[in-house]
Symmetry: C2
Subunit: 580 residues, 2 copies
Amino acid sequence: MSLMRIALLQADPTVGDLAGNAKRLLALVEQAKSTGAHVAVSTELAITGYPPRDLLMSPDFVQAAFDKTQACSPTIPMLIGTPVPGTDREMAPANGVVAVGEGLRGKVVAHKQLLPTYDVFDEARYFRPGSRPGLVRGAGGMDLGITVCEDAWQAAGLTPVDYGVDPVAQLAALVRQDATLSATVNLSASPFHHAKVADRITVARTAAARLGTPFLLANQVGGNDDLVFDGSSIAAWPDGTVVLAPSWAEGVLTVDLNDPSSSTWTPSNAADALSIGAHERLVLHPDQAAPTVTGAEGLVDAVVTGLADYCRKSGLHRIVLGLSGGIDSAVAACVAVEALGPEAVHGLALPSRHSSQHSRDDARWTAEALGMRFSELHLDAMHEPAETLLGDVLRNGHAVAGENLQARLRALLVMGHANAEGAMAIATGNKSELAQGYCTLYGDMAGGYAPLGDLWKMDVYAMADVFNARARAQGRDEPVNASTMTKPPSAELAPDQVDEDTLPPYPVLDRILRAHIEEGLDHAAIVARGEEASVVTDVLARMGRNEHKRWQMPPAPRVSVRAFGQGWRMPLAGRHDWRD
Amino acid sequence: MSLMRIALLQADPTVGDLAGNAKRLLALVEQAKSTGAHVAVSTELAITGYPPRDLLMSPDFVQAAFDKTQACSPTIPMLIGTPVPGTDREMAPANGVVAVGEGLRGKVVAHKQLLPTYDVFDEARYFRPGSRPGLVRGAGGMDLGITVCEDAWQAAGLTPVDYGVDPVAQLAALVRQDATLSATVNLSASPFHHAKVADRITVARTAAARLGTPFLLANQVGGNDDLVFDGSSIAAWPDGTVVLAPSWAEGVLTVDLNDPSSSTWTPSNAADALSIGAHERLVLHPDQAAPTVTGAEGLVDAVVTGLADYCRKSGLHRIVLGLSGGIDSAVAACVAVEALGPEAVHGLALPSRHSSQHSRDDARWTAEALGMRFSELHLDAMHEPAETLLGDVLRNGHAVAGENLQARLRALLVMGHANAEGAMAIATGNKSELAQGYCTLYGDMAGGYAPLGDLWKMDVYAMADVFNARARAQGRDEPVNASTMTKPPSAELAPDQVDEDTLPPYPVLDRILRAHIEEGLDHAAIVARGEEASVVTDVLARMGRNEHKRWQMPPAPRVSVRAFGQGWRMPLAGRHDWRD
């Protein structure tokens, strides 16, 4: 009975940083040991971080990762996710698991069988599939079944394709022959989207029920480029009991197989560990659903995680952004301050002759409420010379050229600050306007990261409510004031301009875009839902024309069911115009 | 003997334009018929264009492509490359071939077996592989073996991976049982890189020899985003005789199986047909090597094709670019003028206080020699107000901020012209400087297409020689004058600045970058070739730091063995800094 504690190492690796990732894992194992764990389980490809992408095309990289894994010598037995080299350099690696520590001798104990190759996943590009169920005997005195991420999803029927193979069923057959499996573990790198935790709990409960043993899923946490991972590692028992680790925090979930409620969560003691949101592990009773976190709360934490990790992993310590007085830049400022702290964020108000007084006031309000650095530079000093220099070209050309000019002058000043101060500029646009091309390339799209780039406009409002509520709870001023929340959205690039001059109202726009992008519905199907045909026509036409802008979007944390970027790799030629 | 003429339709499809592609194919078939062809063969996925990328993730798109293919009713029998839907919507399509016309009833006659999934290819993401050799009986009175692109490469040993299956060997086994195959055809979408034609000839000769019948390869031509296809369709006979279609032109190669020298090339009669370079089909005797086109000639045609097609397919009719008086912008102007004509190209000289008189003179020279529109705007009118506005931020910050400021002011003026005039700006940078991050994001990197983005600096000089020689041959002034050819490369963003202040001499830099990027060599291996260790260290460090800039590069025609972009999908976080 004593040898029944398994630690799930919910780590935040940096893609490609083999030495750093090994060090992080070994530090977590030491913490796991102190919680009484007998064996520790890492996340998928923990040694390389997920997703390593074309680094995996280098046999030298694969070999170095495998060697680094085998060289780990933890003080308790440990299963580590790593690429496993083929028998020659031309052969693709496996997405595997190696057992190290106490008598396990660096043996390969599992090869991932189901290789997801859709949306953000491209594993058939990189890996050869395994063909047998994973298994380790005598790890910390236990025999354990082993699966890797997608391997467990077929059994729950939650994959978009039918693999024709079910590794959970294979293990269940083994269990019927051999009653000694103490548990089955799953090494995961399962990216976030809203509502993903509920799916993962279904996967874990399904597997535990099929196998008749506890099923433990260790999930990566943190941001790597445009993917964010929520962690939320899970242990499920055959009766449906679940222990759930916190999201958005690095640490160790030590699971007591015999007593769910004795399971513990230990935050990582690394100085730079990710630690956002709540820090309690939860126990769910058999019939209990996933904890209801309001959507916007989860989105805020996801986006803050994405930006914070992008900066940490890139060695960036400061952020510059333009503050227009509008909702997007206000919420982006909230995200930046939450991610890096107010002293690390510099907001620039850059009013032009078209900017209203409320915009200038609201921008200052947000900056002061957040306690960040704030500067105001009036654009006129450059705007007029630029117009003079372009002269007839502007007067006789498309009007949008004059509008874009202002956005690009702002980008030039934001980037000037960023370059001079060694900071990163962030782009503040949201997914709704990006999808419509209602934004300026090299203007408001400029920046190294787009924290709101995968969020619909109405989600941005919902996130503002979250930030305001959090501020109120701490006795601080609301960073997004009532004026910003309620005024009609406007780019303020022409006199009295509002977004609705060009776009449908955002609730309508978001509905149409969601239907098209997330559900894949075409014009007819969207109209059949009751949207006005001409509006749908215009929205879809703008999407096609402006494909190129989305393609040039900086990394944006993927929080939606279907993001742009990977998994939305459309041809450009034939689809866009260049006028704006 | 009479039923022995096969037409290879060397078409230039637009990705996703199913109706337009079908129309183009049917027009080419009519031309083929008039040359006495009995059957016509399209390129790979001719109905969708290659590469369709994530369009293939839509079952509706796949079905529409297949339906459009089956609905083709040409006046001679025809084999068309098309995605073939699975038996249910969850099943991936095949990369297949459908036979239409005269008694063939839209039958699926081949499924591609070898799915390349490396470098720019990602076919395991999209397709299920076939398992049997392709075959059509009674097409124009002939029985034909059918292969699709990669299917034929395993036999020649020219794939980077070993597939364990060889469709040519399968067909050879069929031929041994059944002597009626008149020929084997191959539907290809094989992208260009320098020296690729020689490889393709080896593939065709190998297959013809193995099969003991003629082997005919129809290859796509034209540019789609960052891929360019050279065409160069091939017929090879078992004795090694080869008929080779022109590169960079749309048309029909009608192959007489009994008499290679009677084979004909017919240029497409479409008004917008691609037609660049020479227009003669070649006959190679059995021992004759691929025709020696000097590298730079091929690169010029490739890059002109890429830009011309990108513009045509996107409905762009005008180009704007900055002319610095340096080699890159001079050659980019040559490319633009060759692609769209001098009246469609507007060059802007944008001198700053750091620009030399020779730069201004040389920029004007190039524009006048090419007969393009030319304007000069002096940057000072904006440069000084911008410096005043940024004030202490610039004075006290990284020096690079001031340099970037100038590049971004230029981008703002170039984009202002482009937006006002409904033109596309092009970025003029080369691959050597992009690899080093020696360029300004939102500055000289701004533009919708980067014609030189996959060309090493020394290749740009070689291309200048080609453009100059072509001008001399036509009795025109050389567009790249001696001053531009011989002066030390300089960004002219600071007083007396030259590129060698920061970078090694370009011949050295190009050698190191080629070794690292094209051959995958690491620091030790490059030093072992005789490069100075500290220089290699600096070059590789700059590459790592500046990953992000390459990721934001506009589409660049892929002409090298290994390009950035697809096939160089590296993680960003942890690899770059944002100071420049």
